[in-house]
């Protein structure tokens, strides 16, 4: 941890960055985002197993961008997020510094190329456990799956915490806020919840980097990660595409291959 604090103090003192976004101790022993502007604040920085939130969400907040160049304590998911945001022209190269904790020390990654190299070194596919859970769902019957998701979505409040926590949901006017025509019903009734959750998953297809923040943010505990992981596994198995691996990469959903499978098309 102190390598991280040392690096943060040094960056802030030398003014190479105006703010270091990292994890600090939160309430109840949890970790939460802290924004250090003065070298002295670097002592607050921590990095342990509780640091799960994907801090890249703050790269897209106007109030944080206004602070100037940021250094970001980046978990592997955050690094993938940065690359995916780069692929979608939301962050420019050298506009941020990623601090990737490796064991005890810190790897500063200043350019997308550095981030790509670091990301490429690790395995980012769905873990065996995640694959198994998806398998469990595939094994369930259609009716059983429908009842499971109907119960889950009936508890959705439409509080949009899943959208707010997701770094890739950065649209200034989300389709949910479009009322001409009213694509998604505003009230949180069953029909509106289904349309909202399907739209959220589809709009992340080929983009989501599986950081899991949407599920952690959901106050009523709907396992939203399952939807995104299902689409990640589909996109990678059918289109052999993986998001968050390169700063300049085509989006799996906005490109095509002539030989995409079409067995279901008559």
């Amino acid at each position: 941890m102190n390598a991280l604090r040392e690096k943060a103090r040094e960056l802030l003192a030398a003014k190479t960055v105006q703010v270091v976004i990292g994890y600090g101790r939160g309430s109840g022993g949890s970790a939460r985002a802290v924004f250090m502007r003065a070298p002295a604040q670097a002592a607050e920085l921590i990095f342990d197993a509780t640091c799960l939130q994907n801090l890249a969400v703050y790269l897209m907040k106007p109030e944080v961008r206004k602070l100037g160049k940021a250094a970001l304590v980046a978990t592997p998911a955050a690094l993938r997020t940065i690359l995916q945001l780069a692929a979608e022209n939301q962050v420019a190269d050298n506009s941020l510094l990623a601090l990737a904790p490796v064991g005890e020390d810190i790897m500063p990654l200043a350019t997308f190329a550095a981030i790509e190299a670091h990301v490429a070194a690790a395995d980012h596919d769905l873990s065996a456990a995640e694959g198994a859970e998806l398998g469990k769902f595939a094994a369930m019957g259609l009716e059983e799956r429908r009842r499971f998701w109907e119960e889950q979505f009936s508890r959705c409040l439409k509080c949009y915490a899943c959208r707010a926590a997701c770094p890739l949901c950065y649209c200034t006017r989300c389709t949910v806020e479009c009322n001409q025509p009213q694509w998604i019903p505003v009230p949180a009734h069953d029909l509106g919840n289904l349309e909202w959750n399907v739209m959220r998953a589809m709009h992340l297809a080929g983009r989501c980097v599986n950081c899991g923040d949407c599920s952690r943010a959901c106050p009523v505990g709907i396992p939203l990660y399952l939807l995104n992981q299902k689409l990640i596994s589909d996109v990678s198995s059918v289109f052999q595409a993986r998001s968050g691996m390169a700063a300049r990469s085509d989006n799996a959903m906005s490109t095509f291959k002539p030989n995409d499978p079409e067995d279901f098309i008559r």
Binding site: N89, T172, R173, C178, P181, W183, S254
Partner: protein
């Protein structure tokens, strides 16, 4: 203000036969926003259109729904009628209650109910229509004609004579196409070369026509009025400017035993050759597959003998880029050569030949210099059997259509044979005689009566060799299907006319749709035969379907007229059904977040980046912008955009959303 006029057509009784049009008109009147609802026997007739125009003026309608036939048929008609009455044409929609309702369902409440559904859907859509102004696009007044057959030649000459530049692209070393291979043509028995060659020369000498022979279209980008074509001029291994066409190289070339394509495989040609004497341009080309220099690196004899040193062995293919405003497809057709009929022994017996090969035998420039000699031993055949419908009209063989010209050229072949072998006995096995053109029936009648051609109505079952003779087994159905056998010296099969090889690849390069037989698809079989669905690309000749020379020439002139019409205005007026990116007042400026994933989805690269700067010049955000000239209105980006920031006029989010809700009883109609 929503004041919609609904006009329901009986279409004679095509609609009113199964749909209760009165009930539909009455139901339409009850839809909120509908100010005028009426039904009439023939909406598309002049009084019908008058009715629409009067209603627009009297009740100052803000939208019109015409419930009749398919918009592909009369949408332009009614949109023009509305425009004439002062209503923006894009506020008029058609509800297809004929092809999609009255014709395909039985009479009954469900059918009338569906018609009401369709009308209600389109009323909901019209309420969300916006008045649109057509887009003005500059037009490059240069036409490109692909295919140098009679159709291509005629189209090129007509367009050039209309004062526009033409680029004629021909795959073979010379223009002329199949017509140049014919001996004489029905029904006048004009010598094909005599009527074709002057036109070919006229093309070569016409100031407005640039000729690219031995060339193929590499790619075509852009859209009507603004195409960018890349033409691959295959290397002729010859400098055309130096070559005088003396023909010495062809005489001296040692490799002489190559089957001549021009002679349909009957004659032979050297490695460096001019396809036929009247070839235009009359410049040879080296066939690199067979020339020994390219195979073994030796010889180069033609280079030595060439008086003007025009031979260029190292010549490369050359890509020529041209801007064109319109394209005429005149790539023609081909004769089915393959061993399509094993039972006829085509390909096994040398004396079983197809129509084109017979033409070459009869032609003065053919391998036998016009003398009727059979390919196997060169003897004059005493008895010749012509078999019509050899491949056409045979669904089992996959060609269910009629190739239209075989009856006529079979009769001609029989007459030519009689004129050359007076004592010969020609037989023609036919199913039906299709001789519908001017002087066509008289021509066939003459063949039967004056030239004594023996017409046998029946199909040939087998042809086999028996002691030197070709036994043609068939039956004569007019005599109670009496089986018969004819011992013939030679058999000519009138095989089916099929699409050119490579027709499909070319269509895909031009995004032109084609049918199951790879013939190009016309925009409308009856009303738009010379246009394709791709704006700016026209059709002429047999590439659209097998047809004879008069029809090909007529179609070519038709296509040329269309091109001339297109080039007659300074600017092309385009349908404004294109995509537009959202723009708003500050501080948001646009709901687009600049992810530009739509850019990779656009097949026409019509989406550009636009920087939005504050008053102080500081870059606020970069958003997408659609180039109205390039956008073809496919809407792929619209369905892709996550924030619904890009919308397509004519099929906007609001319009299609309203349609879905209205169709499923939500929205306008009480539940």
């Amino acid at each position: 203000m929503a004041r919609i006029g609904v006009f329901i057509c009986h279409c004679g009784e095509n609609i009113s036969a199964t749909v209760d049009v009165g009930k539909v008109a009455e139901a339409a009147a009850r839809i909120p926003g509908v100010a005028h609802s009426v039904d009439y026997k023939y909406m598309c007739s002049d009084p019908g259109q008058q009715m629409v125009q009067n209603a627009i003026r009297e009740k100052n309608l803000t939208g019109v729904v015409v419930a009749a036939c398919s918009p592909r048929m009369h949408e332009p008609t009614f949109r023009r009628a509305c425009a004439a009455a002062g209503l923006n044409p894009f506020l008029c929609e058609m509800a297809n209650i004929r092809e999609h309702c009255s014709w395909v369902h039985e009479k009954g409440d469900a059918t009338t109910e569906k018609a009401i559904d369709i009308v209600r859907t389109l009323v909901a859509k019209v309420k969300k229509n916006k008045a649109l102004q057509p887009i003005k696009v500059p037009v490059t007044k240069v036409a490109m004609v692909i295919g140098g057959g009679i159709a291509g030649i005629q189209a090129s000459l007509d367009i050039a004579n209309a004062g526009h530049r033409v680029i004629l692209v021909e795959r073979e070393p010379s223009i002329g196409g199949h017509m140049s291979q014919l001996s004489e043509t029905f029904p006048t028995l004009d010598c094909s070369q005599c009527i074709l060659t002057p036109r070919m020369v006229e093309v070569a000498q016409h100031a407005n026509i640039t000729l690219h022979t031995y060339s193929e279209l590499e790619s075509l980008e852009g859209f009507i009025g603004n195409f960018k074509a890349r033409i691959r001029k295959k290397a002729r291994s010859l400098d055309e400017k130096l070559c005088t066409g003396c023909g010495l190289c062809a005489q001296k070339c040692p490799t002489r035993r190559i089957a001549s394509e021009f002679d349909a495989g009957l004659g032979l040609r050297p490695a460096i050759y001019v396809p036929f004497p009247q070839a235009v341009p009359n410049k040879p080309v080296i066939d690199r597959e067979h020339c020994t220099y390219y195979l073994k690196g030796k010889c180069r004899l033609c280079e030595k003998v060439c008086p003007t040193q025009a031979i260029r062995f190292d010549q490369e293919d050359e890509i020529v880029e041209v801007d064109v405003g319109a394209v005429v497809l005149a790539t023609g057709f081909d004769i089915k050569h393959s061993d399509f009929f094993p039972e006829y022994g085509y390909g096994k017996h040398k004396d079983v030949i197809d129509g084109l090969q017979f033409e070459r035998l009869a032609s003065a420039s053919g391998p036998t210099l016009g003398e009727m000699r059979r390919p196997s031993d060169g003897k004059v055949p005493e008895t010749v059997v012509f078999v019509a419908c050899a491949g056409s009209r045979d669904p089992a063989k996959g060609i269910e259509y009629c190739s239209k010209i075989c009856c006529m050229y079979t009769a001609k072949h029989a007459m030519l044979y009689k004129h050359k072998v007076h004592h010969g006995k020609p037989y023609v096995f036919y199913m039906d005689i299709r001789a519908g053109g001017k002087m066509y029936e008289e021509f066939v009648r003459r063949a039967m009566e004056e030239d004594g051609v023996q017409y046998v109505r029946g199909r040939v079952s087998r042809i086999f060799e028996r002691n030197g003779k070709l036994v043609v087994k068939g039956a004569d159905t007019l005599l109670g299907a009496r089986p018969m056998e004819i011992e013939a010296d030679m058999v000519v099969l009138a095989t089916a006319g099929v699409a050119q090889a490579g027709a499909e690849e070319l269509a895909q390069k031009l995004h032109v749709s084609y049918d199951a037989h790879k013939f190009y698809a016309e925009a409308h079989p009856k009303l738009r035969p010379v246009e394709t669905n791709t704006a700016g690309i026209f059709l002429a000749g047999a590439c659209q379907a097998p047809k004879d020379i008069p029809e090909s020439v007529a179609q070519a002139s038709g296509a040329a007229a269309k091109v001339a019409a297109l080039f007659s205005q300074a600017e092309l007026v385009r349908e404004p059904l294109i995509a537009v990116v959202d723009r708003q007042a500050p501080p948001l400026y646009s709901s687009c977040v600049g992810c530009f994933l739509c850019q990779s989805a656009c097949p026409y690269q019509a989406i550009e980046k636009e920087e939005i700067r504050g008053r102080d010049g500081q870059l606020l955000k970069t958003v997408a912008k659609v180039n109205p000239g390039l956008c073809q209105g496919c809407g792929t980006c619209v369905a892709f955009c996550r924030t619904k920031s890009i919308d397509i006029q004519g099929f906007s989010h609001e319009q299609v959303h309203a349609e879905v809700l209205a169709l499923l009883n939500r929205g306008d109609r009480d539940a």
